[in-house]
């Protein structure tokens, strides 16, 4: 039973981390009804950011957190104004945004190859120092626990933002009913831009810890992570950022159980999970319908 | 009973719930060929749900829908359409990217047993002059007419009309009244869901008032206005 306990605990750590991986995608979807297909690519950029801070300046990845938070917020805000309002005026914003952000994903990936080259990069897990930590008789690397803690903190901050701040409350109003929110005098564009920036910054933040939790950093990692994130937020319920926590946990547990008992098929997991959930329970655990006819 | 007065549609004890909400809770009624039945009731009382159930947009929890004597509960929508049931939508829903002519042609090709000439349909609905325009470029009352034209192109025997009067000006409303009456005169049975009491009064022979998925009243409109339960449902709701 030791193996099972190990898998379940590891799944918990992975789950908390993966909630952070998915939450930005869900926030953007919830507020703008847009699927940011470049989500994984922003995560990749965040990972490179941490890599270079460590590699060139010797900074601990934890220092990358505040820096990237600011940088990616600053990238996200103008990007929103550049792309989103125009899209939302079109006939089919959901589909068109899907295609557009796919284009953006291609641009980022190509640019990343130019700038960072195609070589795989990593950050040694020993940056967090110390021997592995013993929890409930099982031994885990410190990097897992740090990643899980950051994941939990990230979700907690987004929760605090949404439920205990003025712009956060406005954000929830927009999620519930966009036109109503606009009618009550909420500046939909400003609040959405902020949510967009936060969504991208959350992805970048998750990227900082991807070398420890997901694997080597490379320019082409984005699309796979987008699909995984999508699976997570669909499980947790689309458009409900806090539901992502549950989605992440389910994904994390499923992943660790697969890797423990059925390792060679674990790559299939996100894809199969995604298809099954979409077909069986397209609303995730809460309301939002995604079916037609 | 002569064959002519046999109901074309019989709806019996329909039940449907969405989550905790009972949208239909035992409603029953029938319509004879050439009859215009009004369906009234406060918002959320289940009128549109009724139309959706009859056209097969979703399945029922229990109850029976018989069309021309045949139980159609389990038929998919397009089969019901081909049997002779059609509708207009509360929010007009033409094929926006297709021309007016194409909108009607699809329905006449796929919709019925007897092929209806699209040009003729456009003539009687007054859309003939704009048949080459894209449906998306029409105003909303033209789109309502186009919805109606598409329905007529399938040669229906039963037409379910959902809030077709809303948003029409008095002139258009009068024309719509005549149009619906003319359809009934050809033997088409009509179910008219409507908020506008005045419009209902002018087109219907008989009305059913619904509240919370149940029948509250059935009879003549002027009697309904005096029925305390109806008054309460409309004012209290």
């Amino acid at each position: 039973m030791n193996l099972l306990e190990y898998a379940l605990l590891a799944g918990l750590f992975y789950g908390l981390y993966f909630a952070l991986v998915g939450v930005g995608l869900n926030l953007i979807f919830g507020v703008m009804r847009i699927i940011n297909l470049a989500h994984g690519d922003f995560l990749m950029l965040g990972a490179y950011g941490a890599f270079y801070l460590y590699h060139l300046l010797g900074w601990n990845p934890l220092w990358a957190i505040p820096i990237e938070l600011v940088v990616f917020l600053l990238i996200g805000l103008p990007l929103y104004y550049l792309l989103v309002p125009r899209l939302q005026k079109s006939g089919d914003p959901e589909m068109l945004s899907f295609i557009l952000f796919f284009g953006l994903s291609q641009v980022i990936e190509a640019a990343a190859v130019f700038v960072f080259s195609n070589n795989q990069r990593s950050i040694p897990a020993s940056v967090f120092g110390g021997a592995p930590i013993n929890i409930a008789g099982q031994v885990f690397p410190v990097s897992w626990i740090v990643s899980a803690a950051v994941g939990l903190a990230g979700i907690g901050l987004i929760y605090a933002y949404l439920y205990h701040s003025r712009p956060g409350r406005a954000t929830r109003a927009i999620m519930a009913e966009r036109s109503e929110a606009a009618a009550t005098g909420i500046s939909v564009n400003r609040i959405s831009a902020l949510a967009f920036g936060i969504g991208i910054a959350a992805a970048a933040l998750a990227g900082i810890f991807s070398p420890f939790m997901i694997g080597a950093i490379e320019p082409s990692m984005g699309i796979g992570i987008t699909v995984i994130s999508f699976a997570i937020i669909v499980i947790g319920s689309l458009g409900n950022p806090i539901g992502t926590l549950l989605g992440g946990l389910i994904y994390g547990e499923a992943l660790m159980l697969m890797q423990t008992y059925l390792a060679s098929w674990s790559e299939l997991l996100p894809y199969v999970l995604l298809i099954l959930i979409l077909l069986v329970r397209p609303t995730g655990l809460l309301e939002r319908a995604v079916r037609s006819a | 009973m002569s064959p002519d007065t046999e109901p074309v549609l019989e709806v019996e004890d329909l039940h449907k719930h969405f989550g905790g909400l009972k949208a239909l809770d035992g409603i029953s009624f029938c319509i004879a060929p050439g009859e215009i039945l009004g369906l009234a009731g406060p918002n959320g009382s289940g009128k549109t749900t009724c139309i959706n159930a009859i056209t097969g947009v979703f399945g029922l929890d229990s109850g029976a829908i018989r069309f021309a004597g045949k139980t159609i509960n389990r038929l998919p929508t397009y089969r019901r359409v081909r049997l002779g049931i059609n509708r207009s939508f509360q929010v007009p829903s033409p094929f926006l990217g297709l021309s007016v002519m194409e909108n009607v042609t699809v329905a006449s090709v796929y919709g019925g047993n007897k092929k209806r000439d699209p040009d003729h349909i456009l003539e009687i609905t007054g859309l003939a002059q704009i048949k080459d325009r894209l449906a998306g470029s029409l105003n909303s009352s033209q789109q309502k007419l186009l919805d109606l034209a598409r329905a007529l192109a399938t040669d229906p025997r039963l037409l379910l009309v959902d809030e077709i009067g809303a948003g029409l000006n008095p002139n258009e409303l009068a024309r719509m009244t005549d149009q619906l009456r003319a359809l009934a005169a050809q033997g088409i049975a009509l179910l008219v869901v409507e908020h506008l009491m005045d419009f209902l009064d002018r087109v219907t022979d008989r009305i059913v008032v619904m509240d919370a998925g149940k029948e509250l009243f059935s009879g003549q409109l002027y009697e309904a206005a005096e029925d305390p339960r109806v008054v309460e449902a409309f004012l209290g709701g």
Partner: protein, 297 residues
């Protein structure tokens, strides 16, 4: 007309221009773009995992050649059927709307890739070690087969545009609920378009596998194949016969001019192009002509 010009071009160009592989790829992408057009242009569903059919076709035909010693022509057809089979398995995805369909379809293609590339199945699919078909190597025959596939795709797409069936698909694309109220069997019509589209990708994949005769799972399941086809269709104009042809001709030509040595240049250009298209020209090049009142087939 369009079909005739295309055929003549591919019959005679090889005499003056000796890069057969380029011509083959161009035909292949034209067929794929047309196949994608059938499902996206005419029904509005954008299959991000379109390459899954391509890979299924390549593997389906290669496996019957290797294990059952089929000759290439029936094997190519079988590749098409393998794709149709995959397509049938995916029909439930149509319960999903818009972007959810796209992303679920992408997931399905990835899942298929991981199944085929899984080392545990190496005894059947040869897993990550790839396929080699020296026994049937014949690029010329594969070239003509591809041309036949392209002609088939063009005729099919042309028929779609003019037929009752095409009109029904258009109605479904605009509004599935209303299409049902017009008497259209939405589920079946969509499935037919989907399977035809899958078939075209399947036979294209099979012919491609035959032409190059050595390939790996990542060759025939590469996301870039979907991307190319989508961009060609969007650029030329979806829902038309000419659009995907023009899109492929211009962009694939450009790709070969600037992209071969550093594909990233091209990926970059592509990505930018997609963004600009969505923002400024969502109906593609051919819509420019149509705005001037020129009827585009």
């Amino acid at each position: 007309m369009v079909v005739a010009i295309t055929v003549l071009a591919y019959v005679f160009i090889p005499y003056g221009y000796n890069n057969q592989f380029l011509l083959f790829n161009m035909m292949m992408y034209m067929a794929l773009a047309q196949g994608l057009n059938i499902i996206y242009g005419y029904t509005g569903y954008l299959p991000f995992g379109y390459v899954g059919f391509f890979g299924a076709g390549a593997y389906g035909s290669a496996l019957v050649i290797i294990y059952l010693h089929w000759s290439p022509f029936p094997a190519v057809l079988l590749g098409g059927l393998a794709a149709v089979l995959v397509g049938m398995l995916l029909i439930p995805l149509f319960r999903l709307s818009g972007a959810y369909f796209s992303i679920a379809n992408l997931a399905a293609a990835e899942a298929l890739y991981y199944i085929i590339a899984n080392p545990h199945l190496a005894s059947v699919t040869q897993g990550p070690y790839g396929i080699s078909l020296p026994q049937v190597y014949d690029p010329n025959a594969a070239y003509w087969t591809m041309l036949a596939i392209l002609v088939f795709a063009l005729i099919l797409s042309g028929l779609m545009r003019r037929s009752r069936f095409g009109l029904a698909l258009g109605a479904i694309r605009e509004n599935p609920v209303s299409a049902e109220m017009a008497g259209v069997n939405v589920v079946r019509s969509r499935a037919i378009a989907w399977l035809l589209s899958a078939f075209i990708a399947g036979v294209s994949g099979a012919a491609f596998g035959w032409y190059i005769s050595v390939f790996y799972p990542e060759t025939v399941f590469s996301l870039s194949i979907t991307v190319f086809a989508i961009v060609f269709v969007l650029f030329g104009g979806s829902g038309t016969l000419l659009g995907p042809l023009v899109g492929t001709l211009v962009l694939y030509g450009a790709y070969n001019y600037i992209g071969i040595s550093t594909p990233q240049y091209f990926q970059l250009t592509y990505g930018l192009l997609i963004i600009l298209l969505v923002l400024f020209l969502p109906s593609g090049l051919t819509s420019l002509l149509r705005k001037r009142g020129i009827d585009v087939p």
